[in-house]
Symmetry: D2
Subunit: 408 residues, 4 copies
């Protein structure tokens, strides 16, 4: 490999793979079934954590497989984006894994925001327990009433009233809102509607027990509540928080969002590719085990060509993602803009393509709760919309292409 | 239109459209939400029917919009396959609709089997209440332990023991098994393993309360239980039924299955196209209502081209399906084999393509319970596997193509 | 088949198939090679007709397989669009065939224009020899300097000067211009730039030997000159023709062009489908004859699935084209607008897809002059641009879709 | 970029880009037209070189832009595969370029064979003039009568007869055979039919003027002769050459072919990507210059999304190709097998996709001799078959995937 990972990253890869192979994957089916049994309903207030998973989380922490995403060497693992990327991929092999290593979205993104832009008080109150895995957080940006692909459509507002900030708005797709430990939200809203386009928004920290915060319901994503995380719809009605709950500064919301995106995209995309690798492995395994018309399924018709197409697609997407990571580390997020937009389109698309093939080869089994495939499908499908739909990112790539050529 | 429907069919189309437009679609979102609230969990024994839907069913029956699928003029509507096809499409606009008109799968197929092959006693006991909509039925063919795309893999057995038949087997994807009114199953199994390949199986009627029948669980299909129907996994352990529960004859299972397929495929496919039409309508509506970057979503990028692609794909698939119906009516199922295999691939694929576009244009809303889109996705995705995966039907088309040319 | 052809059409289909099978296809390879040898260069003034083909043309005429496209019962065969469609498909099996039956584009379209809109004098002078196959014609619309997909870009002009019309313009892709018998052009230009958008253009008949008409060169289409027809680039510099060379009327150019399109599209598309059928037949034949790794190529990997996909795609495209023909005959071109735009996209796309597969299965042979495949590819590729690119027709389909829903 | 090129490679990239930008691209259209005028016919014996190009070749040589592909520091530039890859891409921008720098296939591959495996005498006689650009060579492997995708199908034979080798066979797609300077062929044939599968073939050097060598004709590739190179069909009938014309050894043909493939694939693929970059540039340029419906073509419909898709596809394919190069350099051809097979599928496919889009946006212009686009199309299309069709390489990728997992 050319994007050669450091010795540190390689060692962690090995350790993480070991953990996944021995502790996570052999139990995954059982945990998924148990979670399904306990939490497979929309009454999110009754959702609960699997005790066994909580215990394993403790073990991961003790092994140092904890907060690997955070570039700070003391609070986290101090890895570069490129060093962390292969670790995110390994975690991506199971939807249950990221939380075990305290690397679950949107907590990772929120922790990064607090780490980079939070005041010492904000960090002490929220970053510390998040890093300890005892608190869970949500990110409130998307709104049900407008096309959120265009940030200027955002209707939620943040107003100053003396020492307080007053928040109003209706948000949804706030992932993690149903989690028993969810306690804090980052709320994005319009603070200065007449300012220059990228200076109109602010981000504010809102404890979820603040009066005026009403969790209306959880949304299903591709038929599933993703319990015990959930995707929440929440109303903020004259919610008041102290002015020091503002993150970074008035009008800085867009800049924070942008900064949050770079490494977060790498994480999301590498997890997708891990899920794609797992789907391919499951497809090959199933295709060898089951037979029809006298041959293993894998040898029938164009199935082997599909295996090859999956391998080729994954390989290319991974290289593009690693290149984006490398550029972020070496030349900054701005220099990596095309790649960051491109992988946001490519990685979930590749996962969708591979998981689609894998489902088809599994037959009915691929559609149901017995396999992680439909979960991977939902991951891909949702990611093609979350943080901007494919179309917005393709438009960015095209715009940058024309700009690079001195045209517009 | 060239496959000109009869005046009778046209009148029914108009009546049905009126019913859908005034009674079904305006209430669909509410019903879906209510059903989700009541039945959105895996404990199928607590699933219940929506009283309002039951009432509407009665109304449909009174209007004569009842059992339209059945070619018998007295028991059903006496329509040809081609006459019924556009009605199936109209019902396909809502996943809630087919049941309202007593045209829901797998009951339609099972009623056809009983109608064509059932003994008078079998008809009296099971066909009559099925036609009345007071009984629900399931079809037990697919098995979890083998690749069911190859019928010779079937492991379930049917043995004679004096005046009784003894059934053993493990089945899944028995749709409707969770329904409160589900009472009877058609069970397919090996009865004569050494016979010629197409004479090895039999079909037997099994009341669901027969000792030895154990419903193990319901499966999720694309994350959803499809309550209150459900897709069941069920074990048959030394299940004994009287010998007169055999349908048609010993070794006739495959022939019945084949006969069941022709018109059933038309129904499935036309419902898919109805769902595709609805998805397209929703996509256009949403695309006009929501704006981003100063323009309605529909006018952005390649979205209008996607509308056109959807229209073209639906139109072609519908013509192919109507041609299949026409051939079945005029030349028999055998003459329509290529078309029947072809539409089984094309119709769900078109639905998947169109609903995919529609979801993308809806943003997050398209993924969640607020819209019927994910339900349509699941319909398409499951149908690409049910009754044989795409690959099996493509192989049939190719085989028939070579045969037609005198090659093999 | 449901778009049941009349007995007359069926008899002609049989007769035409016989002619193709016994007289055309067995000689095709030899004729293609001979034509290649004689005319495989860009010096169009030396292009010549194959004497053998000229003789066969006579034979076709004697058998009544002549001018089948013309709906006039005396001058042509008096067939409806739907009756002619399957004949066009049969001719489409060989690129050499349409001329044999005097059904070659653009002559067919030009004859239709003269038939419907020509004055008796115009008909006597040009339609009669065209119908006799002794004269060849061209159509001068597209221009090299502008995007011709937008008709309002047209720069060529037609001005009145007393009893004369003065034409100026630069045209290209005037198919047939290199043919030894080419003698007359239909020239389209702006005559009234300030009129309403669809009343600005006129069409004028221009004998090719009129002073001021300069044939600059022939264009290659996908590497080939299509000799002895050719695609010409031609300059009209102060070209003067008598005023009675105007077709139909001042400002009627757009209306004529629209009327010319409907049936012409059917012809083009059915020929494409004939070419696709031929490509599929060649693919199957080759795939059976040649072996690799111990099996016929056709049985390797996903090749049989490709055969099935080709069959399905052709079948659907044919039905859509027949539906368009049926609508034109029964409800007029306006009622068939969506279908006409749709098939313009679908038919060449299907041909391109099928010929692509066929080439791949032929290996190097598929790329070279030994097989008609690259010619079919060029036919498909060019048709995706001629008479408007795919994108323009997709836009039409979308526009009509929105209009049908009362939106825009 | 992460596969960081050396300073040496970077300097050459700059120098080469300068040469392309100032000397090649501004004259390309004129040269293509002139070549078309002079050599646009199938009579290959009259083909001639453009004097202007010959002069420019001399200039390239003087600037040191010569034999850059050869890893030998004295005879060539001494670059690694990874260092040369970006240079091959730059040359790929014009089909006329590789020859200017003496880096044209199949000469590069043949020179590599002679460099690695040729005897001192063979090198003196043929490698030296090839390196000087005064001799041209061909490679005779593919045969018209069999499916050459399976090497064991090869029918050509090599027999020993005393001090001579006797060659018999029929070969085609011998690129360069029509070139005025073509003088030497590498002929591959069966020498030991009963040996182990990979030890059956040998390669022999055959001067083209040896008695028994008959050039039968040139083949068109996608309608074009590729004059003055040409793709020849040639018969070897009892051709006798001295035994020392054998390359490397008896039974070594397959091994030589394999060794020839690694770096050659990189060259081919990078040239494809250069052609794809050029196509994209042409597409953007045209799309900005031409307007329809009041907007630049590039802003219409989904065109900008196509630009983005092209950028993303190229970027991924380039990374995969560079990874393959890197692996070859650092771990050997064997370690790069999956990547080498993968890029053989991906790179021409990306070129075909991008050039397809570019042609569509160019309208008719894209189809004809005025633009290099159809040439790029032919390059892509032919490469999807040359050196094994896509299907063979996909099968290799799948086989290696299963092997890697300890399965088969």
């Amino acid at each position: 490999m050319a994007f050669v990972p450091s010795a540190r990253s390689q060692a962690l890869q090995q350790q993480l793979t070991e953990f996944m192979t021995t502790r996570v994957l052999p139990n995954e089916a059982r945990w998924l079934a148990e979670n399904h049994r306990l939490n497979g309903h929309g009454d999110w207030q009754r959702w609960q954590l699997l005790p066994e998973l909580q215990a394993l989380k403790q073990e991961a922490r003790e092994q140092g497989l904890w907060n690997l995403f955070l570039p700070d060497a003391e609070l986290g693992a101090g890895l570069t984006t490129l060093e962390y990327a292969p670790l995110a991929e390994i975690m991506g092999h199971s939807l249950l894994a990221p939380e075990l290593f305290n690397c679950n979205a949107p907590d990772t993104g929120n922790m990064e925001v607090l780490y980079h832009f939070g005041s010492p008080e904000q960090q002490a109150r929220w970053l510390t327990p998040l890093l300890a895995g005892t608190l869970r957080s949500v990110f409130c940006m998307t709104e049900p009433e407008v096309a959120s692909s265009d940030a200027t459509n955002m209707a939620a507002t943040i107003e100053r009233d003396g020492d307080e900030l007053v928040l109003n708005g209706h948000k949804w797709w706030s992932t993690g809102l149903g989690h028993p430990d969810a306690g804090i939200a980052i709320f994005m809203g319009l603070c200065d509607p007449d300012a220059e386009r990228h200076r109109r928004h602010a981000m504010v920290l809102v404890p979820l027990d603040t009066p005026g915060v009403t969790i209306e319901r959880m949304l299903t994503a591709c038929g599933d509540y993703d319990a015990p995380y959930g995707h929440g719809q929440v109303r903020f009605d004259q919610v008041r928080v102290p002015a020091d709950h503002l993150i970074k500064g008035w009008g800085e919301g867009f800049a924070i969002a942008q900064g949050r995106l770079g490494p977060g995209r790498i994480h999301h995309c590498m997890r997708c590719l891990g899920a794609a690798e797992r789907s391919l492995a499951l497809m090959i395994e199933r295709g060898q085990q089951r037979s029809a018309f006298g041959r293993p399924l894998l040898k029938l018709g164009g199935n082997l060509e599909k295996v090859a197409e999956a391998r080729i697609a994954i390989e290319q997407a991974r290289l593009l993602t690693l290149q984006a990571a490398w550029k972020i580390d070496n030349h900054g997020v701005r220099a990596a803009m095309t790649d960051i937009a491109a992988i946001k389109v490519v990685a979930p698309r590749v996962l969708q393509q591979v998981v689609e093939m894998a489902i088809q080869l599994h037959g009915g089994a691929g559609l149901c709760q017995d396999h992680p495939l439909m979960g991977f499908y939902a991951q891909a499908r949702a990611l093609r919309l979350a943080d901007g739909p494919d179309e917005v990112h393709l438009a960015s790539v095209a715009k940058l292409e024309l700009k690079r050529r001195g045209q517009s």
